[in-house]
């Protein structure tokens, strides 16, 4: 079930990506509507992060192309924002939350201009939106996992883009942060932005997203949530493993005891 849209915000055309000749993404072809909250869902190793990295031009493509707003990435870089996985950086780096948020403004500054008062103001506003204004001067290693994730989001907000690509923003964050983030993402959608999120948890996917991409090396489905999060398509995405999973979750659902995939947070 792959549904295409007219005038897409993002078009991925016949995309194949491999690591050292081993294909990770195979012939992915999809389009995304504007003003949507999009979830990329699939098992571990399905190529979810790879898809985002390929869209951002961080990996060489074996075949296919990506168009954003009908143009190449180079032409619209300032309208696109990327939030890497939290674990991908060294949080002991000598930087404050404000320093990190300010990095979101670097793209607008060009080669020589240094961030000044205006950039600082933008970064502070972004920190306020994620509720981190009180931690602006805090060194980033002294923040909890959820707070670090919010700082990463603030950095993306400071970019003031139209399309946001986020790699597992809900991984290892506490419930309060998860709620705060999803509220923020909804506000962003109301403001006309498109947000694409790599997501792990099937339970919450249903309420979070209005468009879902099911991925397992190949594209299984791409379309409105109601039409994609069906048992048949999920079965196809997760293979045999889902039967166990769905039985367990159904059982828990009946008991009104939602499960949630959580990773241990940082000490």
């Amino acid at each position: 079930m792959i549904q295409h849209v007219k005038d897409p915000v993002l078009e991925v055309h016949d995309l194949t990506v491999s690591y050292q000749r081993k294909p990770v993404l195979w012939d992915v072809d999809l389009t995304l509507p504007s003003q949507a909250l999009v979830g990329i869902i699939g098992p571990n190793g399905a190529g979810k992060s790879t898809l985002i990295k390929a869209i951002m031009g961080l990996l060489p493509l074996n075949s296919g192309f990506v168009e954003l707003f009908g143009k190449s990435l180079e032409e619209v870089r300032k309208r696109v924002s990327y939030v890497p996985q939290r674990e991908s950086v060294d949080w002991d780096f000598p930087a404050s939350a404000l320093d990190v948020a300010m990095m979101g403004t670097y793209g607008q500054l060009g080669l020589f201009r240094r961030p000044g008062a205006r950039e600082k103001k933008l970064a502070m506003e972004a920190l306020e939106k994620v509720g981190m204004q009180d931690f602006a001067q805090r060194q980033i290693s002294q923040l909890s996992g959820g707070q670090q994730q919010r700082v990463f989001l603030a950095r993306a907000l400071a970019q003031d883009a139209d399309l946001y690509l986020m790699d597992e923003p809900f991984a290892g964050v506490d419930i309060a942060t998860e709620t705060a983030i999803i509220q923020l993402l909804r506000q962003m959608r109301e403001a006309g932005k498109t947000v694409v999120v790599v997501h792990h948890d099937l339970q919450s996917a249903q309420d979070y997203f209005d468009w879902v991409i099911l991925l397992n090396m190949r594209l299984i489905a791409s379309g409105p949530t109601d039409e994609t999060l069906t048992p048949a398509l999920l079965e196809k995405t997760y293979g045999g493993r889902l039967t166990e999973l769905s039985r367990v979750s159904e059982l828990l659902h009946k008991k009104n005891f939602p499960i949630r995939e959580t990773k241990p947070t940082r000490k």
Partner: protein, 304 residues
């Protein structure tokens, strides 16, 4: 303080600032030993420059050495990225065989080359005041080294102050940098060229050991004392200057090697910071009941 003492401390301080500034970025990228690698890998460059030009003119040597220094960082990156060898292993493999190549070249052309490892690797800071620069009219401009290192320092200060944001961002988060259109490869090679230039200009006069000590010691000490990269840059420069002055007088008192004494002071500074740093020292950590030092759970790959 006589004029010779002044020149030695002044040269040491200039070298210390150059090395510390770059060292801060190197240790944050987990490439601290790149300075060591470059200081060895330039040997074949110096020999080849000599064989081709037939002169021991300082500029030919510098160009030959700097070219090999950059080539060395290119190979390190190449082995790391293309062959998947760990960054530190890649550093080790690259500079040892380049150094060996230099030694072979020297031994093969021994009769024709008025060079030896000593004058390349163990330049002596105490001799700085002996190599003076005179104008045509005979005016004394001070030691030649001071002018060379001073020029390098000027280039570095301009480089870091103009491009601080690029260096900062590519060191912290290369994927995000690439996503907003800042080339991580370009800034890696510019930084490595700067390291190469500094190492080559500095070790000729103060010796390789001191260059490596200054490139790693003061930045590592400053890292224990502050959480702000700008302060870390200033602090490590300051620590380097103090080490140069204190090391000189220690050497004078012991009647020993100046480079050795400066390196020893750097070690003492690090130990003091390790024990007494208000934020990351072991005493402060024990008092706060924080057992785990930072870095302990870092599982990040070395950033390009």
């Amino acid at each position: 303080m006589n004029i010779d003492a002044f020149w030695i401390i002044f040269t040491g301080s200039l070298v210390a600032i150059c090395c510390s500034l770059l060292g801060c970025f190197l240790i944050l990228r987990r490439m601290a030993m790149v300075g060591d690698a470059i200081s060895h890998a330039v040997l074949p460059g110096i020999v080849l420059a000599f064989l081709f030009s037939g002169s021991r003119e300082v500029w030919t040597m510098l160009i030959g050495a700097a070219a090999l220094g950059v080539a060395c960082t290119f190979l390190i990156e190449f082995f790391h990225k293309k062959a998947g060898v760990q960054a530190d292993a890649s550093i080790g493999v690259t500079f040892t065989w380049l150094f060996a190549l230099g030694i072979i070249l020297i031994s093969v052309y021994a009769g024709k080359v008025d060079l030896d490892q000593d004058c390349v690797l163990y330049g002596e800071i105490a001799y700085v005041p002996l190599d003076l620069w005179f104008t045509e009219s005979g005016r004394n401009l001070g030691p030649r080294t001071v002018w060379i290192i001073g020029g390098v320092l000027l280039i570095l200060v301009l480089f870091i102050s103009f491009f601080y944001k690029q260096l900062y961002l590519t060191s912290f988060d290369s994927a995000f940098a690439a996503a907003i259109g800042i080339s991580t490869t370009l800034w890696y090679y510019l930084l490595m060229s700067a390291v190469s230039l500094t190492t080559v200009a500095a070790f000729e006069s103060v010796g390789a050991i001191l260059v490596v000590a200054l490139m790693v010691g003061p930045p590592a000490t400053a890292y224990l004392l502050t959480d702000d990269l700008k302060k870390m840059l200033l602090l490590s420069s300051g620590l380097g200057i103090i080490a140069s002055a204190a090391g000189f007088y220690l050497a004078l008192w012991l009647n020993g090697s100046v480079a050795g004494a400066i390196s020893a002071v750097i070690g003492v500074q690090f130990t003091l910071a390790f024990v007494f740093s208000p934020s990351h020292g072991i005493i402060a950590r024990n008092r706060k009941g924080l057992a785990a030092p930072r870095m302990a759970e870092a599982t990040v790959e070395p950033v390009l």
